[in-house]
Amino acid sequence: MTNLLFSLKVMGIGLIGIFSVTILLILVMMLLTKIFPAGKEN
């Protein structure tokens, strides 16, 4: 039971962690495409 509760904690924090990193990476990608637009290069 202790293991299960612990694993549920891992699930909760893990999913929040993965989504927070994902959102950070999405912002990075948006920023990259804004700073270095393809048009300028072409």
Binding site: L8, G17, T22, T33
Partner: protein, 375 residues
């Protein structure tokens, strides 16, 4: 006469368990050749399963004599060398353009890791220790190297079954995902069209992206930075434009060589005495659960997003492509969309979600390694 008969004495050492493993090997070979399902993995694994389950097989260690496959396992998988080489190749194969041109696809990569965490809880409920449960749950990363990495880190005794499950289910994505997707979507949802805008990602953005991902992921989950680092290094080689011959070698020669050895080396862990146990069968079943809940997690997350963006609807099947099995999952999802409407091509969106799954699965592995000792 007795000398001649002694040549056949080893037949007496054949057990029914070995025969079952030959059958399993035969099925894997059949799926690879007959059904063309990931033959690069299934054919070597199937052949290897037969090879290691011959009585007194010299391919595996017998007493003091080290077997060739055990040697390869120690020198390539236990020390993670093959994983890093393979990740360079995978990175060089990944085109992140569809992801960079539609960054929100990255969310599906995250959502489709749900199966990992669900399976960790389920494995804990079934009595596995939290370290073993984490090693089993990571099968849902749909990413062999990450599964091996986490399993090795926790020193789980189930590493053989985990590797076999991870690689087998990756190969079986075209069989596993369609019925699950159909179960949680309607025909109308599967027919949703998604416009795709291309050609607006600069070369500079594509070069900087792998460097930034490495820095961000490395700071947040330092324990898995080697995996994400090698993946992104491969991608940098691809995108920089001045290392084309290295990129070509990583994508073709090196990847093929590692894959060739990986499949047959993984099979060294398919020994009947270890493989045919209740725990192994349970792990195989839990691996399937992880893949199913990854798929469900991705699809339901897409449906949730549709509630908030009714004018810009997402085909929920895209969520299922968020698992790391690249490019099988993207192909499966696109094929399913075309089965419903032959003019509905969602391949680029699916590829965007699928490559993000590559990153997200390694992140999930790193987060698990970082979180468990801290909690």
């Amino acid at each position: 006469m007795s000398e001649i008969l002694s040549l056949y004495a080893n037949f007496g050492n054949i057990t029914w368990q070995m025969a079952v493993m030959w059958l399993i090997g035969g099925v894997l070979i059949y799926l690879g050749i007959g059904k063309k399902m990931e033959p690069t993995l299934l054919v070597p694994m199937g052949f290897g399963a037969i090879l290691v389950n011959l009585p007194l097989s010299g391919a595996i260690t017998q007493g003091a004599e080290v077997g060739a496959l055990d040697l390869l396992f120690q020198g390539g998988i236990a020390n993670e060398l093959m994983l890093y080489l393979l990740f360079i190749g995978i990175g060089a194969m990944c085109d992140f353009t569809p992801l960079l041109s539609c960054p929100k696809m990255m969310l599906f990569g995250a959502a489709a890791q749900f199966g990992i965490f669900f399976t960790i809880s389920l494995a804990s409920l079934l009595g596995f220790s939290i370290q073993d449960a984490a090693s089993i749950g990571i099968i849902g990363a749909a990413d062999g190297p990450t599964s091996i990495f986490v399993g090795n880190y926790y020193g789980t005794k189930y590493i053989g079954a985990i590797i076999v499950a991870a690689y087998s289910y990756m190969a079986l994505v075209p069989i596993i995902q369609p019925p699950v997707i159909r179960l949680v979507t309607t025909k109308k949802e599967r027919m949703i069209r998604m416009p795709y805008n291309t050609n607006h990602v600069s070369k500079k953005a594509k070069i900087i992206f792998p460097i930034i991902v490495t820095i961000v992921a490395g700071i947040i989950a330092p324990k898995s930075v080697s995996l994400i680092g090698f993946l992104m290094f491969g991608n940098l080689i691809r995108e920089c434009g001045v290392l084309d011959s290295l990129s070509d070698t990583a994508q073709n020669v090196m990847s093929n060589l590692v894959t060739l050895l990986l499949g047959i080396t993984v099979a060294s862990q398919m020994r009947a005495e270890d493989f045919l146990s209740p725990q192994t069968l349970m792990i195989i079943a839990l691996g399937l659960v992880a893949f199913i809940f990854d798929t469900i997690g991705g699809v339901l997350f897409a449906k949730l997003l549709n509630l908030f963006t009714p004018n810009n609807r997402i085909n929920p099947m895209i969520g299922a492509a968020g698992i790391s099995a690249f490019p099988m999952s993207a192909r499966v999802v696109n094929q399913m969309a075309m089965d419903e409407d032959p003019t509905n091509v969602i391949l680029m969106h699916a590829v965007g979600a699928n490559v993000s799954g590559q990153i997200a699965s390694v992140l999930a592995g790193g987060i698990i390694l970082t979180l468990i000792p801290r909690l």
